[in-house]
């Protein structure tokens, strides 16, 4: 249960730690960097790290979807928005008010610590049901048990795309 650093298992563990480091580093950049473009870059790194974590969790499909949707779509959209709306002006000011920095930090820290305590203290039922990483079961369930949700999500996506187009167009006319 305690593999050497140089064994194959040890290396995997090392890479796992590296992945976590990348994820958290990306997250820190995303939340703290002055420039929004760098924040998006951080977000992207964070998402790729999370994708790798999903891979460690034996679900390559979700991992790839994570990369495809978050990195390839969401991050690109956000950076488009940044490029359209000039972000440089925002970096000149400080935070919203004097309290918000420490206040935000304390709130976030409390939440994180609370969640961590819950995660560590709770005895989670330890019955690993390792899936084989196959896509079949996800597909079947999506179209049987969750078909209603699936359709609803599709409608939400459609409406959001149309809404986005309408809002962006309206702004342009004025």
């Amino acid at each position: 249960m305690n593999p050497s650093l140089f064994s194959a298992d040890g290396l995997v563990g090392l890479i796992f730690l590296l992945t976590i480091a990348i994820t958290i580093a990306g997250g820190i950049i995303a939340c703290n960097s002055e420039r929004l473009v760098r924040a998006v870059a951080g977000l992207m790194i964070c998402f790729i790290g999370v994708g790798a974590l999903y891979y460690f969790l034996n679900s390559p499909f979700v991992a790839m979807m994570q990369v495809l949707i978050y990195v390839g779509a969401v991050a690109v959209t956000i950076s488009f928005a940044i490029m359209l709306a000039d972000p440089e002006q925002s970096s000149q000011h400080g935070p919203i008010n004097a309290l918000s920095g420490p206040f935000g930090f304390i709130t976030a820290a409390l939440l994180t610590v609370g969640l961590a305590l819950i995660a560590l203290k709770t005895m989670w039922g330890d019955e690993p049901k390792v899936n084989d990483g196959s896509v079949k079961i996800i597909g079947t369930q999506l179209l049987t048990d969750y078909s209603m949700v699936f359709e609803l999500v599709s409608i939400v996506l459609l409406i959001s795309i149309i809404g986005a187009l309408v809002i962006a167009r309206e702004g342009r006319k004025s």
Binding site: N2, L43, L53, Y70, A73, L84, S90, L115, I138, G171
Partner: protein, 108 residues
């Protein structure tokens, strides 16, 4: 439990999820700009879906449920990003600013 076998423990993932969530909350509070807030919001969602995935791997009776939830979260996040950003752009066109405070001030 060695540090090198962490990838087999549920808590490690939960902790990372909690951290991402916390950072997201922090960003949401401190960011001035709407896009910054959106970025932070995405991180909160990712932190949540990491939890789903971790539970799916380690405790769930059904190996697909968590993954499906993660997928749904992704879909919602994409929709949120699309609609949120279009609102940001519209606001920028109107107020010449994406600063949340300016937008509050300049009513009309």
């Amino acid at each position: 439990m060695s540090i090198l076998t962490l990838y087999n423990s549920l808590q490690a993932y939960l902790l990372v999820g909690a951290l991402l969530f916390g950072m997201g909350v922090y960003g949401l509070i401190t960011r001035r700009t709407l896009i910054g807030m959106l970025i932070a919001g995405e991180m909160i969602l990712v932190g949540a879906s990491l939890n789903f995935m971790a539970f799916n791997r380690f405790t769930a009776p059904d190996p697909a449920t968590g993954q499906i939830f993660a997928l749904f979260i992704m879909a919602i996040a994409a929709a949120e990003a699309a609609i949120g950003l279009s609102i940001v752009i519209a606001i920028y066109r109107h107020y010449r600013s994406i600063d949340a405070q300016d937008v509050v001030k300049l009513k009309g």
